[in-house]
Amino acid sequence: MLTVFELALRSMRQNVKHYYLYFFALIFSMSLYFVFTSLQHDQAVQNMTHPSVDFSTGFQIAGVMLIVIVGIFTVSANGIFLRRRSREIGLYQLIGLTKGWVARYLMIENILLGLGALFAAIIFGALISRLFVLILLNLLGLEGIVDISFSVPAAFKTLMVYLLIIVITSIQMMLKVYRSTLLNLFQADKRPDLTRPPKAMTSSIFALLGLALIGYGYELSGHINERLFLNSLLVLGSIVAGTYLLFRVTIRWCFYRFRKRKDGHLGLTNSLSMAPLMHHMKANANSLTLITVLSVMAITLISMAYSFYYSVEQETRRDLPYDFMFENEPQEALSFKVELEKEGIDVNHHVAQAVLTMGIILDPNDESRKIEESLLWLPAEQLKQTGADLNVPPDGETILYNAGASLAGDLDEQSKRYPTRIKLEQHGQTVMYTLRTLKERNIMNLNAPGKQMLVSEATMDKIAEQMAGTHGYKKIRFDTFQVPDKEELAIASSLYNAKYVSDERLTYDFYTQYKEVLQTTGLLIFIAAFLGLVFLISTGSILYFKQMTEAEQEKQSFKTLRQLGFDVNMIMKGIIRKQAIVFLLPLSIGMLHSIFAIKAASFMIRSDTTLPASIAMTIYTVIYLVFALFTIGYYRNIVKNAMS
């Protein structure tokens, strides 16, 4: 006499080959959760980073996202497993076991599997956390060895996540057992979801609505930063709904038209790709939508994080074109230079004489705008000597340099304001200068006062002459330093920070700023990369499980086809086409969505995101396609052995 417990153990052993990927994915995401929460509670790494880097919040948010994805993953995977075991569940009831018994049996199996995953995850997590710390330190540009001890709170939190998963999946199991009739259970895989022809009118309306929703989402994503929160929600909602309709109606409608036109002459390849896809269209629509949305999130997350990380140096350079800058502090500048030379550091020192005045930049589109602001007139000829990449504007003309311009709104929109005129008032008289254009970078470090206006030396002298003595007029001497060698720059930076920084004024040096941003973005890429990996593994696994289940349901078909004289390669051609549709459809639609998402989010990055985003997408695609290959391999095995 077998007990429920023994039966559950026995069934687990039999099902283990179907579970191993599920097990792997679960262990991977749970151990990642353990590592993230360990890092969140660990002080060692945190103490090494810049205080402005918000370490624990980063990992906390990542942890929440992990819980969400683990939840979605287990629910989907569990749903697939339950569907495939429908017949078994029905059989137990048929031989007279109660629904309660069956539910208990499934739950025991689930709890045991989960417990295994939990312990494996904590042990594995504890083992690899050191490796993770090494990767993290590397990304943050930090050196040194940190020992990370086993974190009890992290283990406890992981246990809570496990319990949450168990509760959710148990509810799912009880629903399945208590809510389905025996007939449903036995015919789970026979009955197609949707074979009735779609009603022409409603279908075409919904098919077009799906496309329209996606189009609307794309359009709106172009000016998402106008009302960030509301627009983000609208874009997300319309894209998700549109994608669902696309899979559920539009694609089905296309398939149906195609099949109808074939009038029975479907051909082997279509019989093995399109027909089974249509057979499970409802379930497929749900999972394909889920997978597409998750892929979009993962691709966007990774692409953005990588773009940030990739462009740190470029971005910092836009703000701080000079490694060090002294403003009207010739003595300090001199002593800094002497100190650097004493250390044997190669340094390029230049002096630029600039003028600060008050003035009004007129807006041709808005005559009423008359805000007086500080304008810093910088002589192009002198800046050119420092090696800056710029052209001397013609006399009487100026160019505005503002690294933060895109943060103030759409650049294309802003550029409509130029060329314009600048009004300077001196003792009742006004002079006008032409403001030619705006460039999205700085020509003097961020902390220099006023808006940075590039003029020829002659124009600057003229302005100085005209404006001398007016309110806000000031002559400024900038001492700029460039240290070409990276390692020497690090030493120079520590010298600068030791002596020349005061709390009274803003001081920035390139290297310190660069390191700080690098640490923030390094943390971001670390979290995004691993989260993305979990997303990727989850979506890939869900597709794999689904296809695995379908492959088994189709086993008899393969056997029949083999008996009818179709060889393995002919059948595989159809299967490969099906996998191409199943994997490439969400991938390509996801890619397209992501491109718009990245474009929408790229207002946060001034550098070009094309290259980093393409690299991230390529890596994502490659790993994703590995899952497709796995699936095809699984199918090939089934087809090959179908006859025996």
Binding site: K190, R191, P192, T195, D263, G264, H265, L266, G267, L268, S271, A275, P276, M278, H279, Q556, S557, K559, T560, L561, R562, Q563, L564, G565, F566, D567, M570, M643
Partner: protein, 261 residues
């Protein structure tokens, strides 16, 4: 009673042996079968369970390999064919009807029937007229766009028969085609098979344990213990008379129920 077996040979089996298991524990299922089937014949293979009738069919139908002996179909030695060639042979020369239909659930009746010619070079127009002709004979034209789960067992088996005939095979193998059908559907299917055999000149080899089913045949071969025990030719006899003859042989042979203790 003995009728000269003239006409063109479609299938020729010589001294077919089939052994399962390894040396020490070998189980000899077929112990030297000689069988010749000529064009237009409708051959029934009968015998108690374990007599090797399904094994014989599988071996003749190239689904299983012989341990020894030769099988020639349309002059080709199928035991010499391997993988791809064997598949192509099955696809072009053979038709199959299985006890549990084995239709593809995801395809309509018409799609299922047209499947065997999906890789052939047949033009769509030719395929369409071929389909119409067969569907008319099998009386399933109206079901063309239905899915297997929407039709009855008899209709499913007639669809399977259509699939077995569409590519005009040299020979059709049927493994207990009426096994899962009620008697009315069974006799309707057999009537159709008889009609196809006579009108279209299709050669059929059918395994069955049902004397009613085999009474539709032109010849019945009885197996016992891996060997051919006897043969009956229908000749000009009525189906009823032939049926009684079959029952007589079966009584001597020991029916399924006798064998299964």
């Amino acid at each position: 009673m003995v009728q000269l077996n003239v006409g063109e040979t479609i299938l020729q089996a010589r001294n077919v042996l089939k052994t399962f298991g390894t040396k020490g524990n070998a189980h000899h299922v077929l112990k030297g079968i000689d069988l010749r089937v000529t064009r237009n014949e409708f051959v029934g293979i009968m015998g108690p369970s374990g007599s090797g009738k399904t094994t014989l069919l599988n071996v003749l139908a190239t689904i299983d390999h012989t341990t020894d002996g030769t099988v020639l179909i349309d002059g080709a030695d199928i035991s010499k064919l391997r993988n791809t060639a064997l598949s192509a042979f099955r696809r072009n020369k053979l038709g199959f009807i299985f006890q549990d239909y084995n239709l593809l659930d995801t395809l309509t009746v018409k799609e299922n029937i047209l499947l065997p010619i999906s890789l052939s070079k047949m033009s769509k127009r030719k395929a369409e007229s071929e389909f119409t002709a067969i569907a008319d004979v099998l009386e399933i034209k109206a079901l063309s766009h239905k899915y297997p789960h929407e039709i009855s067992g008899g209709q499913k088996q007639r669809t399977a028969a259509g699939r077995a005939l569409i590519h005009q095979p040299s020979i059709v193998f049927a493994d207990e085609p009426t096994g899962a059908l009620d008697s009315k559907s069974a006799s309707s299917l057999l009537g159709v098979m008889e009609k196809v055999n006579q009108q279209r000149g299709v050669t059929v080899v059918m395994v069955t344990h049902d004397p009613v089913a085999s009474s539709y045949c032109s010849r019945v071969v009885f197996l016992r213990d891996g060997k051919i025990y006897s043969e009956l030719y229908r000749g000009d006899k009525t189906r009823h008379a032939f049926f009684n003859e079959i029952l007589d042989v079966q009584a001597v042979l020991g029916g399924d129920h006798v064998d299964s203790f």
